[in-house]
Amino acid sequence: MLTISRDLRAKIIEHARQDHPDEACGVIAGPAGSDRPVRFIPMQNAERSPTFYRFDSLEQLKVWREMDDRDEEPVVIYHSHTATEAYPSRTDISYAQEPQAHYVLVSTRDESETEFRSYRIVDGEVTEEPVTFTE
């Protein structure tokens, strides 16, 4: 189960819409062990592609070090699909290496409605999870 504020959901969707048709990506950090997403960190998509995303390695180092200094961890790792459904692809699954994170996928394939779904991806297994929105 992912519990996330409506405000953070809106920020993810806004980022995805802004970067469409390229995939958007980012992290929401929260206190280590809390499972609470708090701090929104949009990332550059170093691939700048409509079908692939990748965190720039030096930006990732900076963000991960900052989280470590603040005793935070990546609670949500999000990215968008721009022409396909909001479901993890084979590539998404093979790259998922943060076992404690909630992998949020949004799809901007439809102009008027944005799909927003969340998954756990552990040892190559995908499990969709319910999302609870808070104020």
Partner: protein, 92 residues
């Protein structure tokens, strides 16, 4: 000689849960082999044949070793090597 190596969550099963381990060597290649002696299997998660695996980022202090010398990157006492799994994916 001590080089600190920071280990990401997903690889801490090889280090008994430790976030950081110490090793020695004069190149990244030697350092990883040195670590593997005590934390068996760790090297294989980072190295495929003669190269660092694609979906792992390894940094020497503030730089990505891909831009230095890859496995041949010289390392020395007091350096910090950080390992982070790459975050990436795609539509298919």
């Amino acid at each position: 000689m001590a080089i600190e190596v920071r280990i990401p969550t997903i690889l801490r099963s090889y280090t008994g849960g430790a976030k950081s381990v110490q090793g020695s060597g004069s190149t990244l290649d030697e350092l990883l082999s040195n670590l593997d002696a005590e934390h068996g299997g760790l090297r294989d998660r980072l190295v495929d044949g003669e190269n660092l695996r694609r979906f792992v980022n390894v940094y020497l202090n503030d730089e990505d070793v891909r831009f230095l010398g890859g496995l041949k990157t010289p390392v020395s006492d007091g350096d910090t090597v950080t390992v982070l799994p790459a975050v990436a994916g795609g539509a298919s």
